[in-house]
Symmetry: C2
């Protein structure tokens, strides 16, 4: 069988940092992003942090001519922030919301309110089925003491599982997004190992952009310089990953990033750099291994074990928090009970003649009710967190069993 | 190609009604269920409402010899209640939690706390890949004025989408569970139409059990008789559905339900009847249409349109509730502001000499804070609800567009 002509696909990925009222020069930057996308005519555009549906509608109106197909994924209180623009028809979509995503009471971080998710759009180009995933994982606020690591690992695992289970009829899988993980982090190794996805930056024949492909760089006027102090060149947390299933091959011919400013402008698109990949997709004579695993299974066992240990650490922390919240709720309930007894005593005339401190008494009762409600809510929340961490740990255990059986049999 | 010998598969499905402290004679019934399952030796057992992980562990210990493979799906505060026991190895699992599932403040209904989900287990029997789904949708508390219909429709849609997207590499799809919908309800028609699943009861060559295959019957001593008054024979809300993909056929040889009591006993397994199907799976000479649609597309357009209308009704209700909660939050904030101004006035000595009602003032302030917190929480919750309903409506619109294009082209 002769090889078909190559399909050339240009993909654009960007965390747009378009938070209403909070992100600097948002409207100007969204306009700039729209103008560039229209001028450049990519095949596929994967955006994150488009939090305002208004911004999405503006982009959609501007890009309608060049990218007639688009989808915005709704979730959480604010929205998922994820959207896709495509030159080719979108046949179907699906959204998977991660089961863990930080804490609602960490208002200063706010990730919980975004309903972090992975969005899938299915696109057919020249008869080739593309499963295109766009996602944004929980942010890392402190690398030394990363309280969100277990949640981000659960997300990386769920992302990998979602991709594996939904991509079985796809010819090519593409994932773009802000994964909030450095290339060597356990979550990235887990995601890549468990799905067989390859990193466009590592595979690219030509590269042009920030050193080491960094996407959060000190050069960008919107980045917080203090956070990047340990990384003078910046960090790489935005990715385009891909793999071919069935009888196709994908190669990354070129990868580019912006370098602190938008091309030909004096301001950047966002506080993140854009990632742009040119992929070559070609039909092969014979089918390639479907699961993308193979010799890497031994490494994968180590990675899953490492991830499972981290999830275990998170599980124990969540169990401690659940216990503390439960104990606080019990104490508040006891205090209320005590107050009820005292009030009944006063009503029954036991303390007749003595002045009753109505004000302090009521304030204390209100405080106790407040603490009771809050700690009950926290207890319920941490109970859910414990369940999801346990569920992930068990899924990972099952994965390890299957991997070890394969190693034994193979 | 000659037809392979037939694979005979016996499937058991039951909503176990095993709520700790609330369900009557729970432990006795769970023991009874375990004994029966061990004696009967089904191939596959799909259970719902096993809320206590302790009950699951007990069942697992008892059934280990006969069903060496099992999985419990964890989610929500209480757990999903879903579990699977299998004679054949479980290769992989995935859990999808429905994005809408009632309201946390409807404590008397409690569905929200269960984290209603669909669980997928992948099983390989004689080289045939089975994607087995188990689920439990939101209960229907009042058929005449069903406030949860939009949520249940979103769940039915998400269930259908999840099955379609994850079953593309499967040879046979099986779904068992308590769908809380009557056979003619729009949600069931949507699920069946959009996935191509067939109803084991309707397809069965032989049937034995409650009339019309009902699974909630007045005959059962645990059912609430008043709720079944409009349905003297009972209702059918528990299903086994199936379809063959690729080059297989599935036929339902026999369907059975229990009839108000467990076989040979004087108490039932649960307030629901068990559904037991014997399926015949056979390899065919030629592949069957993959999507299971075809001539039914015109009907499907009507069903999706009907479902979309109901989701639209739910959307408008959610928007109203979001607005009311937001208005209440603003009023409470205004009251607090007013109080702050008054308190400042007193501190500044504007009302010197006049007695200041400290107690009522503090009580009012606490009340205002309480209302503010509560209504803000409600506002956030209904904002999420609106987003998910909008998202589903848009997905349905996209499905209609694709269907209509197919009808036009075909």
């Amino acid at each position: 069988m002769e090889a078909d002509p190559t399909l050339r696909l240009r993909v654009f990925d960007l965390n747009c940092w378009a938070i209403r009222y909070l992100s600097k020069r948002r409207q100007e930057r969204v306009r700039l992003i729209g103008d560039t996308l229209r001028r450049e005519g990519f095949d596929l555009v994967l955006l994150q942090e488009v939090w305002s549906e208004r911004d999405y509608s503006d982009l959609k109106a501007k890009l309608g001519g060049c990218y007639p197909f688009s989808h915005y994924f709704r979730s959480g209180v604010i929205g998922s922030g994820l959207c896709v623009f495509s030159k080719f028809p979108i046949l179907d979509t699906l959204l998977y919301q991660y089961s863990l995503n930080g804490y609602p009471y960490m208002l200063q971080h706010g990730d919980w309110f975004c309903g972090k998710s992975v969005g899938l759009v299915i696109i057919k180009i020249s008869g080739i089925i593309f499963n295109v995933y766009v996602t944004h994982l929980h942010a890392e606020y402190c690398r030394e003491k990363d309280a969100y690591l277990p949640h981000r690992l659960v997300q990386a695992w769920e992302l990998a599982q979602f991709i594996r289970h939904t991509s079985k009829a796809a010819d090519v899988v593409l994932l773009g997004g802000d994964l909030n993980m450095h290339p060597e982090d356990v979550g990235i190794r887990l995601l890549r190992g468990w799905t067989g996805l390859r990193d466009a930056f590592a595979e690219a024949t030509r590269f042009e952009g920030c050193e080491h492909g960094c996407t959060l760089v000190p050069n960008n006027c919107f980045t917080v310089k203090a956070e990047l102090l340990p990384f003078p060149l910046g960090i790489r947390i935005d990715y385009i990953l891909y793999k071919a299933i069935s009888s196709f091959t994908v190669k990354c011919e070129e990868l580019k990033t912006t370098t602190g400013t938008a091309p030909g402008m004096d301001i950047p698109f966002s506080d993140h750099e854009a990632v742009m990949a040119t992929l070559h997709v070609q039909r092969q004579g014979q089918a390639v291994g479907a699961c993308g695993l193979g010799a890497a299974e031994l490494t994968l066992v180590d990675v899953v074990t490492e991830a499972r240990t981290e999830v275990g650490v998170g599980l124990r922390a969540a169990q401690r928090q659940r216990y503390s919240a439960g104990r606080m709720a019990v104490l508040a309930a006891l205090l209320l009970l005590l107050q009820a007894v005292a009030a009944l005593g006063v009503l029954a005339g036991l303390a007749a003649g003595q002045p009753f401190p109505k004000l302090s008494f009521s304030l204390l009762a209100f405080l106790a009710v407040g603490v009771l409600l809050l700690s009950t809510g926290l207890h319920l929340f941490h109970t859910m967190e414990v369940k999801m961490l346990q569920g992930t740990e068990e899924q990972m255990r099952m994965a390890l069993r299957v991997l070890q059986e394969r190693l034994r049999d193979g």
